[in-house]
């Protein structure tokens, strides 16, 4: 569900949040150095090289997607387009054919939206309550329950594929969007619960006690005390889930039918179609379109992170 990169990004984000909890921190840190020291040249040189290494393929994709087929056949993949055309983008979005449908990636896009939004809301809603209960309302066997749940994070998905097919078939949900939504929600549970439990554990216990003396029950404490303080971790969870579910291919291809394929599966079918000419420009445009949502999430979340920090920076 969540690839290592997103997880790492989310964890780094959470770390940054934690660090801002100590307002005095940014008074420390190293003394400023002269801009053109050897150390700086080495550091930024390396950073620049690595950036180029990662940005080059993106550049090639963008450039190719803006060229017409004749220009592509000339073979200069690094040269900028002589004649900029948006036709490949239009085709990828609205006209490209997969199977019997010739309405482009738009169908897959809306399917993915219809899968991602409910899955993210459902999984985060349940996992945050799970984490809150496991952190603050310890019951007999809660630790065991938590251990079992975490163990779920280490079971390879492939093992579960077929049993879940049977399960969904018996429930009459196989091949439907809701079937896939349930699968995503379940598979997001271990890591999200861990995330929320750890966050709520770090909230001072006395706050919880004070709320109980003030007559607040399970839900009142959750909604009025914990939720407003947990904004940063919700942002982290949303990033994790949106990117993870949007990028998912395996579950999408197994649990849906051509009509309900998510965008990633449809992209694969467009790019890997063996009939006719390989339309590289359309393929590039389609790939960029599919990657757009996680990209936007990363860019926007940077700002959200800052806001999350502002909301979470109140130390009691």
């Amino acid at each position: 569900m969540s690839n290592p990169a997103t997880l790492a990004a989310a964890v780094v984000g959470a770390d940054a949040l934690n660090r801002t909890g100590h307002p005095s921190d940014h008074h420390r840190g190293a003394r400023p150095r002269p801009t053109l020291s050897r150390r700086n040249i080495l550091l930024y040189g390396t950073l620049g090289l690595i950036s180029i290494y990662y940005l080059l393929p993106l550049y090639v994709m963008v450039v190719t997607s803006l060229k017409g087929m004749p220009e592509i056949r000339m073979g200069n993949i690094f040269s900028p387009p002589v004649e900029i055309t948006f036709q490949p983008w239009v085709k990828a979005w609205a006209e490209a054919c997969t199977g019997l449908n010739c309405d482009g990636l738009s169908r897959g896009f809306w399917n993915s939206v219809r899968i991602t939004v409910p899955s993210v809301i459902l999984s985060i809603a349940i996992a945050s309550v799970n984490g809150y209960a496991l952190a603050n309302w310890k019951f007999k066997g809660s630790e065991t329950f938590f251990t079992i749940l975490i163990f779920g994070a280490f079971i390879p998905y492939q093992v579960m594929l077929y049993p879940i097919v049977i399960l969904l078939r018996e429930m009459g949900l196989y091949g439907t969007l809701w079937g896939l939504i349930i699968v995503h929600s379940i598979f997001g549970m271990p890591i999200l619960t861990l995330l929320f439990r750890n966050y709520f554990t770090s909230v001072p216990e006395e706050l919880f006690k004070a709320a109980r003396v003030d007559g607040a029950g399970f839900w009142t404490i959750y909604f009025k005390i914990m939720l407003p303080m947990a904004l940063p971790i919700f942002v982290v969870a949303i990033i994790l889930q949106v990117t993870g579910i949007w990028n998912d291919f395996l579950f999408g291809v197994v649990y849906t039918k051509p009509d309900t394929y998510p965008m990633t599966v449809q992209l694969n079918n467009i790019v890997n179609s063996v009939q006719g000419v390989k339309e590289y420009n359309v393929n590039m445009a389609a790939t960029l379109l599919t990657g757009l949502v996680p990209l936007i999430i990363y860019f926007v979340s940077g700002k959200l992170f800052v806001r999350g920090i502002a909301a979470g920076a109140v130390k009691g």
Partner: protein, 358 residues
């Protein structure tokens, strides 16, 4: 009717027994301080009273009602925490009214109570601020206010002043005492600071290992400690202990080659005991240059520590170390030979084996 009555309270965490068969009765309007070293169970006991911990055995009665299994909010208590525990996303007003809103109190009643608490604690100008914009002292005032608006009979304080600096601590200490005399409700106050305990309490409960060692007025605890632990825990600088034996049918105390008359000792039958401990506070010893056999001890000055108003002199006598509080003008050079006069009526005698006061 007792305000709080704890009957045979036992609390186990798994195999560990934290509170053992504990009994405690608190009179109405009384200020009780639970005092003890870390891990003695004092905060645990407070949490049990508040209903934040489920007890293993026993009963808790508050205001004549059995509240052993009642929710914290149903017990008629207000609680103040060491870390203030203010809700960070709410204003001071929101913090004060949160509990009242949960109780579905009408809005004008809430406003009235918040205004009254703000007036008593002088936090009126802070009502629309967030906790992050308050100083430590102000935060603790708000935390007290949160207990105040609940209009309860019993206040529970869990080391409320431990996070404050020394000056603020003494200011708020006075304020809590003033609050108590104004509201006259029952207060149970947990601390490890004996000055707080001695200044605030009507009665102090000294705890160790989940057991109340002594429950008495501060003066009694200070002057007539029930056992060696209490004697050593209360008082700073701490009590001197001389190890020896009682002889002559309990009329004299012998240690090393010295013999002291125990005439005037206030306590039970002393008898002849082979192992006893004579406890004397530094202010119950005086230095003199006239020896008087049976009443004074020869001693040699080791060093002295000036402490402002007076000075603490450490001496060796009969191979044991004692400290004496003397006026600061009487500073003595190390090695000076002096004699110690002991105020036996104020001394405490303990059985070295049972550690209990004789």
């Amino acid at each position: 009717m007792h305000s709080i009555s704890v009957k045979d309270l036992t609390l186990n965490f798994g195999a560990v027994s934290v509170l053992k068969n504990l009994n405690l009765d608190v009179a109405e309007g009384e200020f009780i301080v639970l005092l003890g070293p870390s891990g003695c169970g004092k905060s645990t006991l407070l949490n049990c009273l508040a209903g934040l911990l489920d007890i293993t055995e026993g009963q808790i009665w508050i205001k004549g009602k059995n509240v052993t299994w009642a929710e914290p909010s149903e017990r008629g208590i207000g609680m103040v925490f060491q870390s203030y525990a203010l809700y960070p996303q709410m204003t001071v007003r929101g913090n004060l009214s949160f509990g009242l809103k949960n109780a579905r109190m009408p809005k004008d009643e809430i406003d009235k109570r918040v205004a009254r608490a703000a007036e008593i604690l002088q936090i009126g100008p802070l009502l629309d601020r967030k906790p992050a914009a308050l100083s430590g002292g102000q935060r603790q005032r708000v935390a007290i206010g949160r207990a105040l608006v609940r209009d309860v009979d019993v206040f529970l304080f869990d080391e409320p002043l431990s996070n404050l600096d020394a000056k603020l601590r003494s200011e708020l200490r006075v304020e809590i005492k003033r609050l108590h005399s104004r509201l006259n409700n029952t207060m149970v106050y947990v601390t490890h600071d004996q000055i707080e305990a001695l200044t605030l309490a009507d009665r102090i409960a000294i705890m160790r290992g989940g057991i109340i060692q002594q429950l008495d007025a501060p003066q009694v605890i200070y002057n007539r400690p029930a056992n060696l632990f209490v004697a050593g825990f209360i008082g700073s600088p701490s009590m001197n202990f001389l190890h020896g034996a009682t002889v002559d049918g309990g009329k004299a105390f012998r240690f090393g080659d010295q013999t002291l008359s125990l005439a005037g000792y206030e306590g039970g039958a002393i008898l002849d005991r082979p192992r006893v401990v004579l406890g004397l506070r530094p202010e119950h010893l005086t230095l003199t240059d006239r020896p008087e056999p049976g009443h004074t001890l020869p001693a040699e000055v080791e060093l002295d520590e000036p402490m402002g108003a007076d000075s603490l002199v450490w001496l060796q006598t009969g191979g044991q170390q004692v400290s004496v509080r003397v006026p600061v003008e009487g500073r003595l050079a190390p090695g000076t030979k002096v004699h110690l006069r002991l105020d036996i009526p104020k001394a405490s005698l303990f059985d070295a084996d049972g550690e209990q006061r004789i």
